[in-house]
């Protein structure tokens, strides 16, 4: 058995690095190298998923930092290390052949405690951003099974938290996830099923719009507008938006930011049209 172990350290191929993940002495370096090169290694995701013990090793990296979450004691080095492990899981979440096995094994749920943290220090901000990256990779391809899983496991409150307190980048990823959930019919119905749910999402979106006036971000604005536009597809939500859509979206505040983004400008026009026309009659949110 031991004779099969490759001895040539110069052969730092993807295969050797994946094998190194099983070795606690070599794991930190292998995580770094693999996550750096994950774009250039062909088919890294199936290699990570199907190789013996690799996902188990990555899960060990995840649970080993749970004690540093509360009280918040996560060091920059430990954050980097676990984020490299998360980058490899993002690779697994992105690949069409491994996405569903990854979901069926419930691996994403071990990331939820990271999204439930509140510290605004860099190690935590980076941890939340990278964790959202894994969820973002799952929703990138439209798949109702993924959306159902995320709704059943309560991802929306965790996204809303990041949309309230995260950096611009993690706000953008969290809003993107909410947008993808809303674009699925199940997701739209779920969020619009009660007035409380709708207003929870609506008020977080509204607060982000207000903060964008001070700190513009075109990419974040784009996802916010897309979320609002999708909400306006639901008749009751559309009536509610008639009253609660932020004025800044109506009064041209963002004309300059959207100058070079015709697609988002059209979405905004469509949103304002929907809210004006559809918002006139019918029962609104409670």
């Amino acid at each position: 058995a031991a004779a099969q172990e490759p001895n040539d350290r110069k052969m730092a191929s993807a295969e050797q690095l994946v094998l190194d993940l099983c070795d606690r002495e070599l794991r930190e370096n292998a995580l770094l190298e693999l996550s750096k090169k994950r774009e250039i290694f062909q088919d890294l995701a199936p290699l990570l998923w199907h190789s013996f013990g690799t996902i188990a090793a990555l899960l060990q990296e995840i649970v080993s930092i749970y004690p540093a979450l509360s009280p918040p004691t996560l060091s920059p080095g430990a954050s980097n290390r676990v984020c490299n492990a998360l980058a490899l899981l993002q690779c697994v979440a992105s690949h069409p052949d491994t996405r569903l096995p990854f979901l069926h094994a419930h691996v994403p749920l071990f990331l939820y405690p990271f999204l439930n943290t509140f510290s605004k220090t860099r190690p935590f901000e980076y941890l939340r951003l990278t964790s959202l990256g894994v969820i973002g990779a799952l929703v990138k391809v439209d798949d109702t099974e993924v959306i159902s899983f995320l709704l059943q496991t309560e991802i929306i409150p965790l996204c809303l938290r990041t949309m309230e307190m995260g950096s611009e980048l993690s706000k953008t990823v969290a809003t993107f996830i909410v947008q993808k959930i809303l674009l699925d019919d199940i997701g739209l119905r779920y969020v619009c099923a009660t007035a409380e749910r709708f207003y929870a999402v609506g008020s977080v979106l509204g607060n982000m719009v207000i903060s964008l006036a001070d700190q513009p971000s075109t990419r974040l604005l784009k996802h916010i507008i897309r979320c609002y536009l999708r909400l306006s597809d639901n008749p009751r939500a559309c009536v509610a938006l008639h009253n609660c859509l932020p004025d800044m979206l109506k009064d041209g505040t963002f004309n300059v930011s959207l100058r070079d983004d015709p697609a988002t400008r059209r979405w905004l026009q469509q949103l304002l049209h929907n809210v004006t026309v559809g918002g006139m009659g019918g029962p609104g949110m409670g």
């Binding site: 199907h50 409150p157 809303l160």
Partner: protein
């Protein structure tokens, strides 16, 4: 049309109430999003409350009572902690254990089947599964119980102490100190229950799918690799990385599942009088005679005791001195309203 599209989505969410999917729906809710006062979950619970209480370690529990707390005497404070912790744990333990055991069991089942389908030694499969599921369930239960336990514990401590002490300002201070010093102990107790319950369940979960896979392997011979989702992707994996019987794996691969013993050291299990991780204890108790094929150079039960039995206690002390918990208090209060309106999907949502 829209209604037709929705019908397409409906079936997977309307399975009969005893199916795994229905159980998962309720079980996967984050426990801090379930307030104890809410209506009980409609799905059958995996465990009854008395089963869970019975699994709490019954060794003597020593609370840490700060010297500053002199007004009532440390014996009195220990009694108060005991009553408050007992009540608080009973309130939150159900959903926490249900969720962490459900998730850990599913993850372990899928990964063990993926990695150990070629292993013919059942005791080796079982040991790897126990180590993994115990650590995953325990660590998940510990981390998710912390905030709900803090909230429940502080309300019970507050009312118990107020009965003995009219000065409300010092009551808050006392509650704060007691929680800071003893919260991790409570989490460690819940962790132990999760570990034990998950280990009890896992063999039953993997037995059937694993034997099915083995039967197919005998029937199909080399065609086996093309036949299943578990094995299809293996065609692209080089031989050195493929799952094999333990004897054919390299040394580091053989160690991976053993590493679950040491990867998670609850900082506070020392507090609870335990000198090692809940998983190591539970597995050592249950399986002490099992041949350890995955660890030729490890592990006798005596070796399961970690090398530095004392570092946890001091670490917890210095950590809690540096980081007050007041931030977390207000944050929890501020977010409850949002989380409580997003329960798990119910059939109304479909």
């Amino acid at each position: 049309s829209l209604p037709n599209m929705l019908n397409q989505y409906a079936p997977p969410l309307r399975l009969p109430p005893n199916s795994m999917v229905e159980d998962d729906k309720v079980a996967l809710i984050m426990p801090d999003q379930v307030s104890p006062s809410q209506t009980p979950s409609p799905s059958p619970a995996l465990f009854t409350l008395s089963q869970l209480i019975a699994a709490i370690p019954c060794a003597d529990i020593y609370f840490r009572i700060n010297e500053k707390l002199s007004s009532l005497g440390s014996l009195q404070y220990s009694k108060i902690m005991d009553v408050a912790l007992d009540k608080a744990i009973k309130e939150i333990i159900g959903p926490v254990i249900q969720r962490s055991v459900t998730i850990a069991t599913r993850t372990t089942k899928e990964l063990i089947i993926k990695d150990l389908a070629m292993e013919s030694d059942d005791s080796a499969v079982s040991r790897a599964a126990h180590l993994m599921v115990g650590t995953l369930a325990g660590s998940l239960a510990h981390v998710t119980s912390k905030e709900p336990l803090r909230v429940a514990l502080s309300s019970h401590l507050r009312s118990l102490i107020q009965n003995l002490n009219n000065n409300s300002e010092s009551t808050e201070q006392i509650v704060h100190i007691l929680i800071n010093d003893n919260l991790d102990l409570g989490c460690a107790l819940i962790e132990t229950v999760a570990t034990r319950k998950a280990i009890e369940m896992i063999d039953g979960e993997i037995k059937q799918p694993l034997s099915q896979l083995r039967r197919q392997k005998e029937l199909l011979g080399s065609g086996y690799y093309d036949a299943f989702p578990y094995t299809q992707g293996l065609a692209r994996v080089p031989d050195a990385l493929r799952p094999k019987p333990a004897g054919l794996l390299c040394a580091t691969q053989q160690r991976v599942y053993e590493d679950f013993i040491t990867v998670w050291h609850s900082q506070s299990s020392q507090n609870a009088g335990a000198t090692t991780s809940a998983t190591a204890m539970a597995v050592a108790q249950g399986n002490s005679s099992v041949p350890r094929l995955y660890s030729p150079n490890l592990v006798q039960p005596a070796d399961l005791v970690p090398e530095e039995p004392d570092h946890g206690t001091t670490q917890v002390l210095s950590v809690s001195a540096q980081f007050g918990t007041s931030d977390t208090f207000s944050q929890v209060a501020g977010t409850t309203s949002i989380t409580s309106v997003f329960p798990s999907m119910s059939s109304d949502d479909v």
